[in-house]
């Protein structure tokens, strides 16, 4: 597995640990698992929506990490390399389970249609503070909305808006161009916006 991510990283907190594991102290691998299992598990939940698939994804990812750690070339953050492996595990998992059908999202489907009634004011939910807006019901609408986004767009939204990767990091993790990441992120967000809008219209 090639380390194709960021060539400019000079230091990473995990490098020392990885060097020790690669020098033969394989028993230290559990420390690497301890550092990332929760993060990866929650990434799995956001992508797959159920505990079993998330656990399988975490397991497959760490098996691959353990198998390929010798190839790690200290040129990228370990976390980014780990997510590169995890996204591949996620994609394989979804292909097997045939979860949400994949489809292209076009910008046109989110554009206000010509002839639509022009709204006169910004809806309340867009300017109310988060603490007055967010409750368990809305959180659930958002979580389900994210799961309904076609996978290749959802992956970008989860990596960018929930896992906190930059556009450049996400592009490297997914082997896509930054431009492509921006396009997919925008469409995923528009998809989610429609879900939230409908929720408040029916509220």
């Amino acid at each position: 597995m090639q380390n194709c991510l960021n060539p400019k990283i000079k230091h990473d907190d995990d490098y020392e640990l990885i060097a020790k594991i690669n020098s033969g102290k394989t028993e230290l691998f559990h420390e690497l698992v301890r550092r990332y299992e929760k993060k990866l598990y929650n990434f799995g939940l956001r992508m797959c929506g159920n505990v079993q698939d998330a656990e399988d994804m975490v397991q497959d990812s760490f098996i691959n990490v353990f198998s390929y750690l010798k190839d790690f070339r200290y040129e990228t953050k370990f976390k980014n390399w780990l997510y590169h492996i995890a996204t591949n595990a996620c994609l394989k998992k979804k292909r097997k389970s045939k979860h949400a059908p994949e489809r292209e999202l076009s910008l046109e489907e989110f554009l206000p249609k010509e002839g639509d009634e022009i709204p006169v004011r910004i809806p309340e939910w867009a300017y109310l503070p988060l603490e007055r807006l967010l409750n368990e019901e809305l959180s659930s609408v958002i979580r389900n909305g994210i799961l309904a986004i076609p996978e290749k767009y959802r992956l970008v939204l989860v990596l960018r808006d929930m896992e906190g990767f930059s556009t450049a990091e996400t592009a490297r993790i997914l082997n896509l161009t930054a431009e492509n990441i921006k396009v997919r992120l925008h469409r995923a967000r528009l998809f989610l916006k429609e879900r939230i809008k409908v929720y408040f219209q029916n509220d």
């Binding site: 910008l107 958002i142 556009t167």
Partner: protein, 89 residues
Amino acid sequence: MTDHSREECILMFEKLSEYIDNELDGPTCEEIEKHAMDCIACKICLETLRKTVILCQSLKQEEKPVSGEFSKKLLDFIKNNSAPLVLQK
């Protein structure tokens, strides 16, 4: 969409996420801000999308714990299945 050509609104619509993420240059940001001041439809798109991003990002605080049983199973599984692969290298 009010006094603008639809093309102008579409151009703005395409760039809203980049605007929210501060990924656009100064002149393009100014154009968007100017347009949004005059076009309520685009202003609504911008503000509802901005809040969507904020809501979505706020959920990243929600972290569920990994079950102790799975954690143990994971370490056992790795120990039993991956050690030979590492030793082979």
